[in-house]
Symmetry: C2
Subunit: 331 residues, 2 copies
Amino acid sequence: MSVCVWIHKGAFALINKATPRGSLTDTTACITQHSQSTVSLFTAQRFPRHTGLYAFVTHLLLARRAGIISIIPRLLADGGEFKSYSKAERGEKLSGEPHSVRMCDEELNPAAVAQPVEDVHGDGRWMSQHTRFVQECKDGEPDVLFIGDSMLQLMEQYEVWKEFFSPLHALNFSIAGDTTCNVLWRLQNGELENIRPKVVVLWVGTNNYEHTAEQVAGGILAIAQLLTSHLPKAKKVVLGLLPRGEHPNPLRVKNAAVNGFLHSWLPRLGQTQLLDVGREFVHSDGTIIPRHMFDFLHLTSTGYLTVAKPLSDLLLQILDETPEERQASLV
Amino acid sequence: MSVCVWIHKGAFALINKATPRGSLTDTTACITQHSQSTVSLFTAQRFPRHTGLYAFVTHLLLARRAGIISIIPRLLADGGEFKSYSKAERGEKLSGEPHSVRMCDEELNPAAVAQPVEDVHGDGRWMSQHTRFVQECKDGEPDVLFIGDSMLQLMEQYEVWKEFFSPLHALNFSIAGDTTCNVLWRLQNGELENIRPKVVVLWVGTNNYEHTAEQVAGGILAIAQLLTSHLPKAKKVVLGLLPRGEHPNPLRVKNAAVNGFLHSWLPRLGQTQLLDVGREFVHSDGTIIPRHMFDFLHLTSTGYLTVAKPLSDLLLQILDETPEERQASLV
């Protein structure tokens, strides 16, 4: 069940009705009435730089900002897959099957746009790490794949990794500083090739400083969807973002909001569980102590235990649920 | 033995001769002939915004850029201390002792300007860590003080810290991402109060992306000088910057150049040793392997051993050299 967005000439007027000053009803109606089938859209002939999709996306954003509707989550909730052309030439009439199909989330949500990290400092470390992960895909056969940022990358340096996760045949493709965009890029560029993990653990989002909580959650959702399409049999565990900073602050509020969105969206994806242990880190006076987070973000070995124990339990439970496959891998 | 720079009216012409288009000889001569005593300088009356010192500094920079002379290192090599007014009012005649004495390096070198980290993300983590370190100064009596960036901060999270450094009564005031500027600010704002460590270990500079190798080394020198003035009895160990990146790259060249400057400058400071183990990390084919640096910058537990063993030996040797004080601290 998918919703395809076609870009045609001539129907711009329909979109154009949904300006912020005008009524948004037409756009909304347009989407909802076609939500189980196909939506036709038009290139914006009057705005050379605004292709149909661009205008469409702009209006969707306006509609969302106006609080009228949150299109994408609703489509996803309906089990729909929102596809679109990524771009259309000015006035170009497109016909036939889309030549470039993308999740519309990517277009709408800057946190769901795949992007490599630019090598601004000149030592090429990010790409070196990605290349190494791609190579590890060729050499290893992990049962559990960890994907994320420094929160998971550092974990591999601690005893907790050896104790809880190495024995599960785990690979860890995590890079400090990564956002959802960077993880998306890595996964689209080789880090899922040649491997068939039974479980993927995803922990990313606290570095998405430029994005809203909803966008960050959407970015995480996009990664989960990508995992589903590449590894349809794999279970997914998404770790909730931890609170950060010694005292209550806006980033704690935002990370909690991300977890809130994930809590309501992820169950609909199927095969996906959210593990959120953030409240364990905040004391009754609202502080986080360096004994758990040495820099009020990254975890000490003590702090990692709080995450690793329930995560390990969950992973063992999931791996036990697929005993035949496990047996096969042991032979 | 110190060189005081006095700012007076009337002698601007002397400085003015040393324009980039004109001869630089006069400025050079001016410095060298007075290098063991006092140098008179003049406010730049013709440039309201350019006080004497500003013009002087500008011309020193021009002289350095022209390759004529490296004034500050030479003064330091002569055992001189380069003092100056930080600012002079337009046309103001200053007399008597300087009311505000600073190392001229600070004026010349952006890597030697004390600067806190701006809380761009809004969780206040950097300042929380600094505040915690200042508090630890009140509570602890360290024999060894570690100061630096992530290279030292992460070390405290590894077993190597417990094995080699905790037993030495060590405190660790290190924050990931810090530059020489940030460390200078922290040390000038409470992190050296109330403590009298016997040895200070300094490891910072690899994050100074905006500065040249000479500037970075100058920033490290400025920190070492600050340590000397606050803790005149303490020995100092400066760790050389490690190579970084999987393959040879400009940042490796730069970090090696920083070490080169330190190698020639630090011995003249007295009580200061450079420990440079960088070459241990580079294989014969020029690569650095993830077994030593998991992200081609930060160390694994195996990588830390390469640093910790010789550092620990050196610290024990230094601590043994002051047996009476050590005995006193044990009583």
